[in-house]
């Protein structure tokens, strides 16, 4: 086993240091080392998007990135989406629009959708579907997820 490495990074706005083996993924580091279990594991092959986090504001499958690669980066996970007790408009609309059933895909969808709305606060349905195509949901048929993103976009535009 290779020696553990020290990783200095920023997670959800806070400077964080952790030790990980070189072979541990960012997802594993977040979940098993740092206890941030909000990012989910669905496949470990980059196909389901349940592990999506933002790395320097871009959506990334954290199962495909090594923990050591987080060095010097800015990581945002679902745990960092709300501001204190104020939910992000996406979280609020996912609740109001009943966009989750089992909820295992939800953290990944929220992060992909946040990245979309940060770039494009007024997306069309097609743009939303394109931006979320890397996230699988097996429960909802995506209908209520797409609607929630459209509704959240309206809230964000009205601000």
């Amino acid at each position: 086993m290779a020696k553990k490495q020290l990783v200095e990074t920023t997670i959800n706005g806070e400077p964080v240091e952790f030790l990980c083996e070189p072979r541990q993924s960012l997802l594993e580091s977040l979940r098993d080392i740092l206890g941030l279990t909000g990012s989910k594991e669905g496949c470990l092959t980059g196909d389901c998007g349940a592990c999506t986090v933002l790395v320097d504001d871009r959506p990334v499958c954290s199962c495909l990135m090594l923990g050591v690669e987080a060095r010097g980066k800015k990581i945002t996970t679902v745990e960092g989406l709300a501001e204190g007790t104020k939910l992000h408009p996406l979280q609020q609309k996912f609740l109001e629009d009943a966009s989750l059933q089992c909820g295992i895909c939800t953290p990944g969808f929220l992060m992909s959708a946040k990245s979309l709305l940060d770039r494009n606060p007024n997306p069309t349905e097609a743009e939303i579907r394109y931006a979320l195509a890397g996230n699988l949901c097996r429960c909802t048929g995506y209908d209520k997820i797409v609607r929630a993103v459209m509704d959240a976009a309206k809230v964000i535009q009205a601000r």
Binding site: T37, V78, L95, L136, R138, T140, G141, Y142, D143, K144
Partner: protein
């Protein structure tokens, strides 16, 4: 009861935010894989690389010598269990098969069949240890579909098994079921049109995003706790205890939040292994499957071969139907062919019929329930044949179904006639939908419809409704919440107690904290556990009336309970709210806690219809879904958003089954598509918004008129898509999935 079913509701039918929602949008909710203990070990499973082989020897010595490896299990470490069906919960389950599926002994029966389990200090070390286990196999020829398996000289999966039909010779046909009625020959004679077709479908997986997981903590006092994402904590407890050879009462199952199941998480796979490894090592042991393990070795639903022959008279009346269904069971008996037989023609009145179903063993994973198990395969076949017949009769396909559709009093192929049902209403709702009324223009486009029927299971459920001192309440059940059922339970309690949904906190308890409650599955939770919550809330109301009577020094019968207020019938005291009364519980006899245990009646007759518009690319054979609408009966929709959610989710799964999803095996019996990249489920880009029409025909079997809504929506889409493809291309597809290569080939051969 009947009057109650038509009553006006205050909370039921509204759309409050689900109580567990914030935890799930902030990442706080704890799913099975999120549990961890400081001194925990990680388990991994060595799986068979062969579809069919004899295990000649297993040597684990090298694995045990790897630093960090703490224990290894093989099949010999599990107790030998009887080869007969024992009731687990309420479902007869063969314990020997269950154990052999968890860890093989003597023989492996499918690619991915577990052979050994390792516990080590990290998942990576456990993984490494697997490669150090030496297994010697004698490879046998695999049987990979029902035709091979039913051939006279087929290799046999279970040479020791005998059946009623084959008492002397081993066979891969695990069982045969038959329903018949009327006079088949006469029926076909009366027909002006007869359509006869054969259909083939492939295994498909439930595809829940959360892989299976299990974490066991065995204590030195012999008591143990298992944390797992399961649809059925009580059945998991009973089975895990039996397979691990410990008393059931010593085991507590804590149902974690569950990331989808669709029937696939009614089965235990790793729970007994985690438990035995924890017992062996003294550490908590956790297993989490990889996606390829999920696909290779957990329950898909059956691939099948189905022959359908149906006759109709010129005026569009069905005269006779013959259906032959052979379903892949996988490596152990238990395909859903029975339900296939029970649903195949059960939307229609068919005076003369013969239905034969065969449960067939093949060298593939043991199938598990998948949303309306068995019904989708059968409906794909029957509903495309009906489409052909409707066309021959020159009748609109929905009218054709209305003309032959079942209603209250219609006979069924099995069991007593239908009670109050809403098939005709569902047909009409689809016919009147904006979608069906719209015109579809353009080349290579077509529209198809299809229908389906499913049951809602009854069975045992417990519920406790606590009224707290501040006048709010909590409702405790044993039904795992897989799609928003906590909200429905809180709403039912709130309705009865005259509270707001937000005043009632719902909770899913572990197996020590609530009475027996059967699975979340079979569309039973809202119906059966909902009935328990309803009764428990009424029990709480009775107690509230007693308390008010005591305070007012009148008889309990003289207290009314209206809109959350206690009202004296015979003197002028002002009404009292629950909140006011709750503050006085201490003086009137202590806390108020209503409880109920029910053994609910199940029902047949939740119907759905689906209408889809497709566009077929003539160059590639790719089918794009342009528009989809689902109409479904819900009895009474408690939380309409989650009813719609079930309808949309089932429709999406049905569309995936229709177009892309299939298990692809090579000739050696190895699964070739073991990841989400090539086990291709629908993404956001593949689907349109899914329009829903909720049809409310109250069920006579539930105090609130509820029907289970979880499953039936998956049934119609494959047939609806096939019918739409026919309108777009002139090609009748008789195979699933209707993937680009298959459709292209069919179009070429037209």
């Amino acid at each position: 009861m009947a009057e109650e079913a038509t009553q006006e509701f205050r909370v039921i039918g509204t759309r409050p935010v689900r109580h567990d929602g914030v935890d799930k949008v902030t990442g706080r909710a704890k799913y099975g894989a999120d549990y961890a203990f400081p001194d925990m070990l990680h388990g991994k499973i060595l799986r068979s690389p062969h579809a069919h082989a004899i295990i000649k020897s297993i040597n684990v010595d090298r694995a045990l010598r790897l630093p960090g490896v703490k224990a290894v299990l093989t099949g010999e470490d599990l107790p030998e269990l009887p080869d007969k069906a024992e009731p687990i919960g309420e479902v007869p389950t063969n314990l020997r098969h269950t154990a052999l599926n968890i860890l093989a002994r003597g023989k492996v029966l499918y690619d991915g069949h577990p052979v050994a389990a390792v516990a080590a200090t990290s998942p990576h070390i456990a993984e490494e240890a697997l490669s150090l286990i030496e297994v010697e196999y004698e490879v046998l020829a695999p049987v990979m579909n029902v035709h091979e398996a039913m051939a006279p000289d087929a290799p046999i999966l279970h040479p020791e098994r005998r059946t009623k039909e084959s008492p002397d010779k081993p066979t891969n046909v695990a069982s045969h079921i038959q329903f018949k009625g009327g006079n088949l020959e006469e029926g076909f004679k009366q027909a002006d049109y007869i359509v006869e077709r054969q259909f083939e479908t492939q295994m498909v997986h439930q595809g829940y995003i959360e892989p299976h997981n299990a974490l066991a903590v065995y204590n030195p006092d012999g008591h143990a706790t298992v944390y797992t994402s399961t649809q059925s904590p009580f059945e998991a407890r009973q089975l895990t205890a039996l397979v691990a050879g410990m008393p059931e009462g010593e085991l507590k199952v804590v149902p974690a939040e569950i990331g989808g199941g669709f029937g696939g998480k009614l089965v235990i796979y790793m729970e007994p292994l985690a438990l035995l490894l924890s017992k062996k090592t003294g550490h908590p042991v956790k297993f989490v499957m990889s996606r390829s393990e999920v696909l290779r070795a957990t329950g898909p639903t059956s691939g099948s071969s189905i022959k359908v022959k149906i006759g109709a008279s010129k005026d569009g009346k069905l005269t006779a139907a013959q259906v032959w269904l052979a379903y892949e069971a996988g490596a152990f008996p238990g395909s859903p062919v029975g339900a296939g037989c029970m649903t195949a023609i059960s939307c229609y009145e068919v005076p003369n019929f013969l239905i034969d179903g065969y449960d067939v063993l093949v060298n593939k994973p043991k199938t598990a329930a998948y949303r309306a198990p068995g019904a989708t395969n059968a409906a794909f076949a029957v509903e495309t044949v009906l489409d052909e017949l409707a066309e021959k009769c020159g009748v609109d396909p929905i009218d054709f179904r209305i003309n032959n559709g079942v209603k209250a009093g219609s006979p069924r192929p099995f069991g007593p006639p239908y009670k109050r049902i809403g098939f005709i209403e569902t047909c009409r709702a689809l016919k009147n939908s904006d979608h069906y009324k719209s015109k579809l223009h353009g080349r290579n486009r077509g529209r198809g419809v299809a229908f389906g029927v499913w049951f809602h299971a009854g069975g045992q459920s417990s519920a406790v409704v606590n009224v707290h001192n501040d006048g709010t309440a909590s409702v405790v059940t044993g039904s795992v919440d897989i799609g928003g059922s906590r909200a429905s339970m809180a709403m039912i309690a709130a309705e009865v107690l005259g509270l707001q949904a937000s005043d009632v906190r719902p909770m899913v308890a572990d197996t020590d904290s609530i009475g027996y409650t059967a699975m979340t599955g079979g569309s039973r939770t809202t119906h059966s556990t909902g009935a328990a919550v309803y009764e428990a809330a009424r029990d709480a109301v009775r107690q509230l009336k007693d308390r008010a009577a005591r305070l007012w020094q009148i008889k309990p019968e003289d207290v009314d309970f209206v809109d959350g207020k206690l009202i004296s019938k015979n003197n002028g005291v002002p009404p009292m709210t629950i909140k006011e009364l709750a503050a006085k519980f201490g003086r009137t006899g202590g806390p108020v806690s209503g409880r109920a245990g029910v053994s609910a009646r199940g029902g047949v007759g939740t119907f759905a219809g689906c209408c889809v518009d497709v566009e077929v690319d003539p160059e590639t054979g790719k089918v794009q879904i342009l528009r989809a609408t689902v109409a479904q009966e819900a009895g009474k929709a408690i939380h309409p958003s989650y009813v719609e959610g079930q309808m949309q989710g089932g429709t999406a799964q049905g569309l995936g089954w229709a177009l892309n999803e299939e298990y692809v095996y090579d000739t050696r019996g190895n699964l070739r598509n073991t990841g989400f990249l090539d086990y291709r489920m629908p993404t956001c880009l593949d689907l349109p918004l899914i329009e829903t029409v909720v049809v409310e025909v109250p069920s006579p079997d539930n105090p609130l008129g509820i029907r289970g809504v979880g499953e039936v929506s998956i049934v119609p889409p494959p047939a609806a898509v096939a019918n739409a493809i026919y309108r777009a291309t002139g090609v009748r597809m008789q195979e699933l999935p209707m993937s680009p290569p298959r459709l292209l080939k069919a179009m070429k051969n037209k």
